[in-house]
């Protein structure tokens, strides 16, 4: 009988210890990871949108913009199980557009797109890619300027589908799957934005920070 007890004891003990270790480690690293995700993922995408507006930025200017955007993040509680995050894009000091992130089904996993909407007109300002795992050299071309600029100033009720599917987005040759994913992400973002437009706009004027 002793060996069965030993069996149960050892497995449970190891399970608990590892759970404990990971829990503790998670506590330790959670903040740092969030900051990293923000710094290396979300904000560069917003900076891409910023660049579409203001035109080419030198690396120092880009650093400054990214630094600035840190304080431009806003959290708004939309009844989802966690507060939604979006960014405010200022033009000549005044909030000009709002950028929020949504996902499309890419070639080998989710493709995250940060979409910018003009506050007044609701038209699209531009997009920036956050996370993707497309085939290198093929799918990754969606990041390039040629593809991204076509969305500048696109009207808010444009049919956000790839031309082949009857939409207005002309897909990258050879990367239809990735292009369709971007279109899908933008469509989701717009649907989310139009649905929660008022709450988002109130939050724009709040002080930055907000509840994490």
């Amino acid at each position: 009988m002793k060996s069965y007890l030993q069996m149960v004891l050892s497995l449970s003990l190891i399970a608990v210890l590892s759970g404990l270790a990971l829990g503790g480690l998670n506590e330790l690293t959670f903040e740092q990871i969030q900051i990293n995700i923000l710094k290396f993922k979300k904000i560069p995408a917003v900076a891409d949108i910023y660049e579409i507006l203001t035109g080419e930025l030198s690396s120092e200017e880009r650093m400054a913009v990214e630094e600035g955007l840190l304080s431009e993040k806003r959290y708004v509680d939309l009844g989802l199980n966690e507060p939604s995050l979006f960014f405010v894009v200022r033009k000549d000091g005044a909030p000009f557009a709002v950028a929020l992130e949504d996902y499309g089904q890419g070639f080998a996993g989710n493709l995250g797109v940060m979409v910018g909407f003009e506050i007044e007109t609701g038209n699209l300002v531009g997009i920036g890619i956050t996370t993707m795992s497309e085939t290198p050299g093929v799918g990754t071309r969606v990041k390039e300027k040629a593809f991204v600029t076509q969305f500048m100033g696109m009207s808010k009720d444009a049919v956000l589908k790839v031309k082949k599917d009857g939409g207005e987005v002309d897909a990258l040759s050879g990367a239809t799957v990735s292009s369709r994913a971007v279109a899908q992400a933008m469509d989701n973002a717009r649907a989310f934005y139009t649905e929660h437009r008022e709450a988002i706009l109130d939050a724009v004027n709040e002080t930055p920070g907000g509840s994490s």
């Binding site: 399970a15 590892s18 759970g19 990971l22 829990g23 998670n26 199980n81 996993g109």
Partner: protein, 192 residues
Amino acid sequence: METDFFALIISAIFINNILLAKFLGNCPFLGVSKNMDTAVGMSAAVVFVLTLAGIITWVVDHYILATFKIEYIQTLAFILVIATLVQFVELFLRKSIPALYKSLGIFLPLITTNCAVLGTAIINIQEDFSLLETVVFSAASATGFGLALVLFAGIRERFEIARIPKPLEGTGIGLVTAGLLALSFFAFKGMI
């Protein structure tokens, strides 16, 4: 929307076959496919483990991990469940089919680390399948795995009398043929 089960099964077995399209579970693919009966034995074991694992991991994820928002230990919890199932299969085989147990050798415990099993479990969560879909998808993936394994075992038994350059004999030619087999499965890519 009503998920089209037939399409799900076909895609799991042929289009994104866990082994020849997603390239998960290659170690047993090469290790066990030396002869037919071990390959069949392995496939049966994987079907059993994968289907059960699919169900339990779905339940664990939906009712425990999601509510407590501790997704990060998802890998840990899933792998523990899979390991228990594999250990269960190992004990069962040792008792009732010792011959198969012996011929599977090291590859039976290695089912636990079989990327296909954990991979499918994680895909079930990513695709946000319902329980029924999870079961169907897991079983179909496992069958796909079995199909690829048995197919490959058939080919490898032909190596016996083929004229193979000495250094490539055994695993070398196995890998090259696996590559070509995988290439042939690309043909299914565009079906759905």
